[in-house]
Amino acid sequence: MIAVIRFPGSNCDEDARYALERLGGDARMVWHREAGLGRADAVILPGGFSYGDYLRTGAMAAQSPVMAAVRDFAERGGPVLGICNGFQVLTESALLPGALARNERPHFLCRTVRVRVERDDLIFTSGCRKGEVLELPIAHAEGSYYADPETLARLEARGGVAFRYCGGAGDDDAAQSPDARGNPNGSVAAIAGVVNERGNVLGMMPHPERAVEGLLGGSDGRRLLEGFLARLGSSTVNASGPSAVEA
């Protein structure tokens, strides 16, 4: 079972559940005031505007009761995937390094972008190959990844970048410099997704749950989530299952 954490103001929680169930997964909503995750095999922190994003995006959510359980779960090696606002919650909780700042052009931006897979050895990315380019939707105003030079160097050195924005044939934003092509928000080193050292906590700005059906214009997110579900289902990976926190 995958626990989808629901903060007041989450709005991609149902989308995540729908996508997971469509791909054969079993999802359960966990309200932010709950102190446990039940028998979760994995956790998804969905997109949205948790607590209205009134303090800083993700900052209030990081202090919620359920995040203590998520932290505990992650420390035991349980896989945690944060998407969009969920990524922001993970950096605010210091489960991932760096921060997400206001987009370079300071507006909300909703479009399909290309990201290159930089790690295919993670439980989350086993359905993809390194170097492969995925087309995934983004929808955020504060998705510009930032880390100070030292942190960034460490992150790069340990292979902590899981996805990077990249230009492509469909990139028509001629106003941008060639370096910035395909980087929709000014993220440092075009970083779109970051994984922790242990490899079990991933944050990403693009929305794979929005790209699981051809009818909606794309299915690259499907491969990502299917690979994740397949690995969760296989016994070899189930590090978190038995030790999962009981509600």
Binding site: Y51, H107, F108, E213, L215, L216
Partner: protein, 748 residues
Amino acid sequence: MIDAGQRPNAAVFGLTEEEFDQVVVLLGREPKVLEAAMFGALWSEHCGYKNSRPLLKMLPTRGPQVLQGPGENAGVVDIGEGRAVAFKMESHNHPSAVEPVQGAATGVGGILRDIFAMGARPVAVLDALRFGPLDHPRDGERNRWLLAGVVEGISHYGNAIGVPTVGGEIAFHPSYSQNPLVNVMAVGFMRHEELQSGTVGGPGNRLVYVGSRTGRDGLGGAVFASADLSSSSEADRPAVQVGDPFLEKLLLEATLEAIERRLVVGVQDMGAAGLASSVGEMAYRAGLGVDLWLDRVPRREPEMSPLEVMLSESQERMVLTVLPERVGELLELLRFWELDAVEIGEVRAGGRLRLFDGDELCGDMPVAALNEAPSYRREGRESPDMVEFRERALKVDVPADLHAVLARLLASPTIGSKRPVFERYDHQVMTNTVVVPGAADAAVLRVKGTALGVALSVDCNARYVGLDPYEGARHAVAEAARNVACVGARPLAITNNLNFGNPTRPEVYFQLEQAVLGLRDACLALDTPVTGGNVSLYNQYRDDAGRVVSVLPTPTVGMVGVLRDVSRHATMGLKRAGDVIVMVGPQAAELGASEYLAVVHGIEAGRPPHLDLDLEHRLHRSLVSCIDEGFCDTAHDCSEGGLAVALAEMAIAGDRGCDVVLDEYEYEGAARPDVLLFGEAPSRVLLAVRADLVDRVGSLFSREGVPSAVLGTVGGTTLRIRVGGERLDAEVAELRGHFERPLREALS
């Protein structure tokens, strides 16, 4: 009690002297200040429709598809498989003119509440926006500020609450310079059995207030111009309400859960005129009365008077009716969602609204009187200026450079790409968006758990309406229905937003009356009844000479259509080299009232093009079956800018060129290349069809008596049009540059 001898000017309450006298008769005494203010608010145009109601009664509102017509928070139509769509459009023109970000944001918030009050989950927002020219010498800067602010407000509210903004239209005209139009349409999905009513049910039921606390926001306007009406100073009151999408998201989830658990008898949004109108309407629908305990209403500020509590327009508030024995359960649910919720009243027999502040009875009015505003049928008279503009002989030279004309039209803000705006809206959240904004003539959503799709469009060519209100309103309905049919959906029903000037001016009343007649006739002909709408009057501005001028009359139409199988839909982009371009519809194009005439020649005159509604209806039927049969997945109607702009848009959207010859395309009496290329006429749709299906498509349309003609083929990277002896060749990439420019520059 107001002493008759010292009666304040009735205008203070937004009432005429005659209306004030009527209130005295209805009450059998002089009203208290609170009561007079409530009558003023509920008898206003916004709540009471006093100038428009006799006209609105002429609109067709019935049909087998209509589950809920006008009179509730929103209309509801049946889409099959036990599912239904709730939808409504509302304006926030005046607040947006003052404070565009919050004005537009609260416009979104308000109309979303109307949708979930019906028991439907909001799934989409569309906006019809009108601004003055962005490059206007005097007002350009302000117009750009208004555009940026309105877009920011819609983006802020819709994105945060997690309802996608899937479409809309934006047009520019000098008449909107000081009075932009912000019309928001919201759409929700539901099962038939979830349909709610904004009612108090029966005597003994309790009313529960839930949501934001009540503040002094929204207390502006004529009713409050008198200093003695309030316990606080004028300066303390923000004129425009502030929206909180986070709170509304909680309110949305809590309300839908209460409905799902069958905890509530009735649901009502608190919109304009706040508690006064919401409780008044709920009681009126049930023919009952209510005792309201004002001292229990949660407040944001100390020392608010009963009047302020009753008429506050604080956002994100609802009233729920509940059986007395279930109050506790309901409050528990609402508090789980971290909302303020209190019991504020009880339903009584007898039809009176009684307001208590502690033990003091501070107001006591008949519910029916409050809700039955007087209405006025006025004399309309067309402005002689308009007659002259419409009948003027149009004499313009054929431009030497047709390529430059196309570039100029594509780069005009009304025609140009709206992508820089749509990209600021989350248009994919909820994962139902099959056709994203700008990709087709209408938005398409799938309905999870079914094969169905829902198509949505908002439309109005206000220049047509300005030059001929009756014809223009017919065009608005026809175009909205055509847009929905162009994605493969059967048009079902409309909502509308009538944006006009001051109705006491005969030339404005004429426009309003004629436009309503036009809506009526088109809705009857196309079998798309009206399920609700909104009226916004007094949209006007002062010109350079200080004269009051009305905005272009703008009856915005919001259309809902249904696709039997959502996987079979069409978009506008050219998809395959070798496809054949087929024009279906009448072989005509006219100069009158066209965008070409306005943009290139600076002339806004002439008659809107001829519209045959019977042909239009047959066109829609054949389009829907053509797309549903799988014969065609590429369609786009010819609207502003005519055939050449439509072809260019298809080429840009599909990133492909095409080769088209108009020589064999026989226009009636119009041999001029500029008219052939840029002239306008309704009921014309361009299709791109696989070569082996062209004959079947042609016969499908001819069975319905709709003419069709092969114009050319898809291929290459250039748009090539041969027209008479002339050529228009342009690289698609170059055209995209023109098309993408105007709004990107304005919003950067």
